[in-house]
Symmetry: C2
Subunit: 231 residues, 2 copies
DNA sequence: CAAGGATTCGAACGTATGTTTCGAACAGTC
DNA sequence: GACTGTTCGAAACATACGTTCGAATCCTTG
């Protein structure tokens, strides 16, 4: 029981590697089928290990789910805050451009998407799996991020009420989640009416960079738009 | 087997009523927990009937799920198309305002939301439950709606490519789905920083009519925004 | 009233689930 | 080389699942 500088003493094969194989498999399967739709056995089988290994490392299916989400989302939110910090530093107190704010917010997530991690699918589950599973996790992971970005928005649009900004920010989150959930994949199916340039144009417009560019423009313009009175 | 003018011949209690109690219960539960997270027994218990009754009327859990979705979504999409027809009739070939197009698209759904039906939650499941369950249903229910509304958008914004419009339309769908999934309910939790006018302003901004107004403005402006070049 | 179909329930079937238990394989320390 | 603690596979457990079956109840039709 001597002072091991790393907290992994004896082990069978490699505890760390097993955990990550489990998290990888869980990430993929949870993304496709959600929490209730994914059995622990499916995960452990895909990870090439056993049910007891999963419960040994994570204690329960629910904790495995939480660990899967937190592993990917925490670094993304860290990068978001770093980008925002850098922007505010450079601006020296001046309000930021909406486009810059949302590039800081969306960029890290799109980077993961481009890296072909299933994180974006999984993150989308934050908004579709039962609340008792994810609501505390949501606040825990996103509380500071939302506060900081709302502050930045409030400085950029000083004439809007905080509640209004919060509402519109949720619209932006909706765009993001929807796209990250893979709903662009069947979009081409719905537009069979342009035969000539179909496939080429689709790949062009639906490339990661293009989607990000369009989304930033869409959201920024949407936030700037005046409320529009009831007719 | 004589010609009964209504197609309900012999029955135990009331076949139609049992079916609708089942659909009501399924709507509520599927909205909260999704397909995999909702057991047939939970549905039939909430409906005050038995598992076999459900399978008698719908054949399987999956068919019950589909019937639940179709019952509410089909009329909504009918109303959407009627509104669009009326607008185009009135315009007589001239392009429509983006705001009008999206009021036609979002209005019927918000009306259901105001009527406290869980349809919006359920509809959101179209985008979170496994594709093999819903993809054919999605095309079947939404194919014509998407085509017609994309046509209207193409006339309103003739300088945009069809694929670009399709992408941005998906952004709009994302806003809608996210809000309809109930994600505005925990929005106030994330904005604890305005103590004085908190509750009152929240109720005000988050009222159905207000959300619809903001969403229409947001989406219309987002669609109008130029793509923005990569920097 | 008898026959037959429609509708419902309770029970049973086989399978799959999350969790627990037991023990073996292994690494590190004396 | 025994002892200790970590890791994890095989099996068992109780429960829950979707589906099926048969009997019971009701209504309509002859």
């Amino acid at each position: 029981m001597a002072e091991a500088q790393l907290a992994r003493a004896g082990r069978h094969r490699d505890s760390r590697e097993t955990q990550e194989r489990l998290l990888d498999a869980a990430e993929r399967l949870l993304a496709e089928r959600g929490f209730a739709g994914t059995s622990l056995r499916a995960v452990t089988q895909a990870a090439g290990t056993s049910v007891s290994a999963a419960n040994y490392h994570f204690g329960s299916k629910e904790e495995l789910w939480r660990a899967t989400l937190a592993r990917r989302i925490a670094p993304i939110n860290r990068r978001r805050l770093e980008s925002l910090d850098a922007l505010e530093q450079a601006a020296g107190g001046a309000p930021l451009a909406l486009e810059a704010i949302f590039e800081a917010y969306l960029g890290p997530l799109f980077a993961e998407r481009a890296a072909r991690h299933a994180v974006h699918f999984v993150a989308a589950r934050l908004y579709s799996d039962p609340p008792e599973l994810v609501s505390t996790l949501k606040l825990e992971l996103f509380g500071e991020v939302i506060r900081r970005f709302l502050d930045a928005l409030a400085r950029a649009l000083p004439d809007r009420s905080r509640m209004e900004l919060g509402l519109r920010f949720q619209f932006a989150v909706g765009c993001m989640v929807h796209v990250m959930s893979g709903n662009l994949e069947d979009a081409p199916l719905l537009m069979e009416s342009v035969p000539e340039s179909a496939a080429a144009a689709a790949d062009d417009v639906l490339a990661d960079a293009s989607v990000l560019r369009h989304m930033v423009a869409f959201i920024a313009a949407g936030l700037r738009a005046p409320a529009g009175d009831a007719r």
